[in-house]
Amino acid sequence: MLNSFNTQAVSQPGRWRTFACAVVALAMLAVAPRVPAAESLAATIDAVQAKIVKIYGAGGVRGLEAYQSGFLISAEGHVLTVWSYVLDTDYITATLDDGRRFEAKLVSFDPRLELAVLKVEATELPHFDLAAAVPGEVGTRVLAFSNLFGVATGDEAASVQHGVIAVKTRLDARRGVFETPYHGSVYVLDAMTNNPGAAGGALVNDEGELLGMLGKELRSAQNNIWLNYAMPIDELRASVEAIVAGRDRPAEQDKQDRPDHPADLASLGLVLVPDVLERTPPYVDLVRSGSRAAVSGLKPDDLVVYLGENIVQSCKNLREELGRLERDAELRVVVMRGQELVEVVIKPAGAPEENKP
């Protein structure tokens, strides 16, 4: 309502016209029948619920929940969610709000932002338009939608919580406190939204407009307090759009180019975990001592997420990507070590070894 009074550079007559319009608009609002707040909120909630997705995948052991949340971002079934161990399986299931269950394909993910995009084979789905997402301000009233604790199944609706944005801050300012590769800005919420299974849920304002995505559970290493937060869509949009458009992956024709002496795992001294799945996460099982990989500082349990600029989705994918590179070239690799992203440079064979502390 107050938008009518937004100060904009307008000429004097324009300003009067704006003022007159605003007065008329306010007068009309005063006589127009008001939709009861409760009804409009129920309608807002129903509209958002239709876009929420329950995601099931790997986990289910040692306190690792095998479920998380997500939301539809295209009519053709693109689902935005967080990148996590839950997606480390060939059998990701996505259950829509109407109870329809789909096998979901992992399109791609961005380890730096800890987001992933899934795709289900369906059309004409209700969805959030990322371009229409709005920024939130401190004090903005918010609703959080998620399948926390996996409490809803089938066509049961996701959980809704309410609160306000308490502060907008950057997580990297809290480095060493919250272990996460995400170092962008976050909305810190006064509601307890980030429960098990809630990651990937949608944060909206009371108009149902998308503000952000609920992040993974984070606990402060200093005081053990759990953080309730969401990542603003502004931080995620470019990466998500690149994934949906396929720009984050090498084009098909590039894949045809193979060098005369392609690199491979053996030449680097790397052994990955047994490749038993269609999409086995490329975890390092063993680094042969004295090998180029060992010299570069790669370690067992590192998860390879980037090779050069390209995202690596699986053991198979890493082998393919290596095969497109010259064996003796310098390789840049990004690995996930614990909750940190670490960049590693694998020097060409025969290059002088760096002094290590």
Partner: protein, 588 residues
Amino acid sequence: MTQRIAWLTLVCLLCCAPAWAQVDPDVQNAEADRVAVVERASRSAVAIFANGGQGGGSGVVISPDGYALSNFHVTNEAGKHMQCGMADGKLYEAVIVGIDPTGDVALIKLLGREDFPAAELADSDQVQVGDWCFTIGNPFLLATDLQPTVAYGVISGVHRYQYPAGTILEYADCLQADAAINPGNSGGPMYDAQGRLIGINGRGSFEKRGRVNVGVGYAISINQIKNFLGHLKSGRLVDHATLGASVRSDVDRRVVVDDILEQSDAYRRGLRYGDEVVRFGGRDVNTVNAFKNALGIFPQGWRVPLVFRHRDETFEVLVRLRGVHSQAELNEMLVGGPKVEPEKGPEKKPEKDKEPAPGEPKPDRMPAGHPHQEAPMPEVVKRHFIERPGYVNYYFNELNRDRVWKALVARGDYAGLSGAWTVLGTAGMGDLVEYTLTEDSATIKLASGELTVGLDGELSARLDPPGSGGLLAAMGLWRRFLVSGVAQFGNVSYWGTAPLEGHEGLCDVLLGVYRDVECRFYFDPADGQLAAMELIADEDDDPCELYFHDYHEVQGRMFPRRIEVRHGDIVYQSLDCKEFKFEERAAK
């Protein structure tokens, strides 16, 4: 310096004053309304103190004579009586009335007033996600000054299912809210924005963050409790129900039967392995949780509508629900008290009926005393407590049994009709039927002949005429019940309330045990008349059902013009009663 601070404060106040004055009157009114609603709702809240203040929880008064709801896991700590603090700053003595360990509900009665501020019960099926709600209670047992704590939030989910711990503390069809529910809030009220009671708080999802609120709390819906309230007032440990069948979701997202007990009523009504459960208890069943939610709100023994698809045909039937626990298990719970560890992780609930092992002795007495130390019972509590095996508090059973009986005989006492009864009437195509009912026998005379059943031995072997489920025994016991009354019939107790086809609301039900059969007597909630009776010879068989219609006065007492006899899926007889004749005295 002090002057300067004073001056600055004055400036601040002057600056703030206009800001306050500018607050939209709608906002100010809304706030004032909310404060008033919370104040009113707070008056009904109860802080329960158990074990001399070492434990406890919350509760809420639901009637002016002091009936109050709490959680079973709260009152179980307290035992037979407890002290309850209210917002008026007073402590009241309270006595246990009935418990529902499976639903985690307990009914207590506060004593000493007839004008307690009672909460208004809402229709919790109308609650929607996003509705404002608030919890009132005694979190962390903070209310040492008896003033309750209030937390506001929104409804996060409705019709939630939370798995039980073993076979108790199952939260079916519950409400989920982000209003704070902490330890100590258990048993307290969850209100809607208008201050109407929508549920009883009792559980939260806690897991790794410790036992404090994480914005995910659950309340037992008040509609579920309404179904159990009559049973709770019977002073018993009341049981939840099972269909006698378990279900699963198939690939087409249909909910299908994957196991069924052949002794169950559902099986007798035609439900089979692989059939699709379409609706249950008036609700669509789309998920296993939806089925569990629909089932979890009913007490044992109710008849509930079931719609199922067998092959390509759809059937709509009424099914009688069996108990989750065997009588032996219930008695065991009464004796020792079930182990209560609320807010634990999910455990799979066995859906199949639990049968007592053949020959298993049925414990028939409750040992004196509760497992933990109880304070001596105050006089006012003693006047409202009767210990009896098989009951939590027999005082309330007797109270309600006598209430129902008095309402029945208020329009004519049958005690004087102790001679033989003759009922002349027609059935079927106008065939003449004559019943002769005496203290010892029941006889039916038809054109084709006559048949007599004696009432002096074991009745379960004399369920004549064949195919009726025991019509003659039922007619004989109908007369006996009316003439002998609740004191002389056999062992008569108040069972609770249950729905009955063709009647609005819930009927009071008395349970009479005569020799080896059980009779259930249903009373019309509108006028207190005997509306129906069932003779149950074996829980695994269909009972004989008598429905009494169109009461009119005969010799100063009320008698039905029509008696409909049903057994299983058939109407065995529809008797139009033309004449009642009564002998002066019992023929010896």
